[in-house]
Amino acid sequence: MAQPLEFEKPLVELEAKIRELKSFAEEKELDLSDEIITLENKATSLQRSIYGNLTAWQKTQIARQPDRPNFYDYVQLLFTDFVELHGDRAFADDQAIAGGIAFFNGTPVTVVGHAKGKDTKENIRRNFAMPHPEGYRKALRLMRQADKFGRPIITFIDTQGAYSGLSAEERGQGEAIARNLIEMSMLKVPVISVVIGEGGSGGALALGVGDRLLMLEHTFYSVIAPESCAAILWRDAAKAKEAAEAMKFTAQDLLRLGICDEIVPEPLGGAQRDYAITMENLSKALQANLTDLCALDTTDLLNKRYAKIRQVGVYSG
């Protein structure tokens, strides 16, 4: 398990105590079940109070936890017969984005997503899921292919943002993202996006233009990382907490603002605590949305998608 977050520490300590007591009881052949049950109830209620009242900053931290399920976990646990496809056919195979074809409950679909690694070595190979232009171009290639064969598309969003640096600038990072936005808006197949962790700015949006945006309960989707926002506006990255609150970017905020269509509940304590429950919840949500969208004819689908994208934004006059 990843390092517990500051606000999780009382819970982690309590859970350690319970484990200790259990092994002590076993070792000494004592019946401490009453005490253990009391403590377990206490842990559950502590868990409820912690995870039921998370601040935007705490949610940011949970969304970034390295032991949350990543793209490959979802692929493995939600789909069957996954065949991974590689490369943008022009420059490279950017492993910050992965994708391929698979069955979802018997329906062939194209899956694409930001791929965070499980350890440092894998993260370096995948550039911490911060894609270069060729990553977005690979994603677009796979989505065009889905369009051709009439396969629905499911995208998984989990990045702190598109890679920023000389190599990205040289190869047209802006254009690569923009191209995905314009082309995704016209794909003739259903497109469902799921924010599974961090939704980092344009680098996230480049896989997120579609018919439905689902967000796991403890995720966020932001115009800029809270640290960067604080650094730029208040010249103090330490004010990230304030920036996180101010930007209203949690799944719950975005549901209210009409950007997120549905929140997928996570098990108590977060998706990393119980992969099976997370998958079950997401699988249900995906199937329901897919059934709805597959019932629409292409014109309807595209008009509804345009209306959904078109309506975002509040102004006066």
């Binding site: 993202i177 808006s185 932001s222 975002v312 006059g317």
Partner: protein
Amino acid sequence: MLKDLFRKPKYVTVSPTAPKKDMPDGLWVKCSGCGEILYNKELTKNLKVCQKCGTHLRMTARERIEATLDDFVEYDADLSSVNTLNFPDYEDKLAKAQAATGLQEGILTGEGIINGLSLVVGVMDSYFMMGSMGAVIGEKITRAVERAIAKKLPLILFATSGGARMQEGTLALMQMAKTSAALARLSAAGLLYISVLTDPTFGGVTASFASLGDIVIAEPGALIGFAGPRVLQQTMHQELPPGAQTAKFNLEHGIIDMVVERGQMKSMLAKLMRLHQGGC
């Protein structure tokens, strides 16, 4: 010692006491390229291009419309931003930007004429909160695109922006999708869209409508890129080599079609529009 004679004397750098003035409201303006003090009236007559070194200084949206269009009727002049998220100090910043620029928001859109050719046009203004894109800019561009489709007119957008507006959070981010989706429909209608990138164009604007022109033009010396210098420093602790993200850099890397001097911009736009009329 003899060696001391060749040693460079050490000077202390004294920063100027007055803040750097680059708002074009004074009588005199200092060229950001060569430092020459220029008479503002002359400079404006020369389309804000330094007579001495050729640096293309930034223009306000109104100056650019004046310099590029023969006629202009504004759309949606009354749209203005609201602080939907209750973001700290946002109203204050908006009020200051409005007072300083005389604009409601960081873009003017409308219908215009260049050398007898009608078009729909949008011009961003970097003096309004660095041209950052919030819901109003997204909506004004989207409406302009939709009008171009309805009237079957070509569209030209002059971009200048630091990116999406942080004070509007994810709502600002989504304007990237909104403007791009509108442009998809323009493209499907077979209409021409020319994107002109001016100094500076970054972030969410580069990563959406500004990069989606059938033809993408930049002004000489304009800085254009995805990650702005400040973001690069803050997030990646990186600095790009000199010359990166200039118009020339973007041309050399195949990211834009051409670099056009301001004095030639109007005739180039007219020529491109004529080249997109007819065919067999």
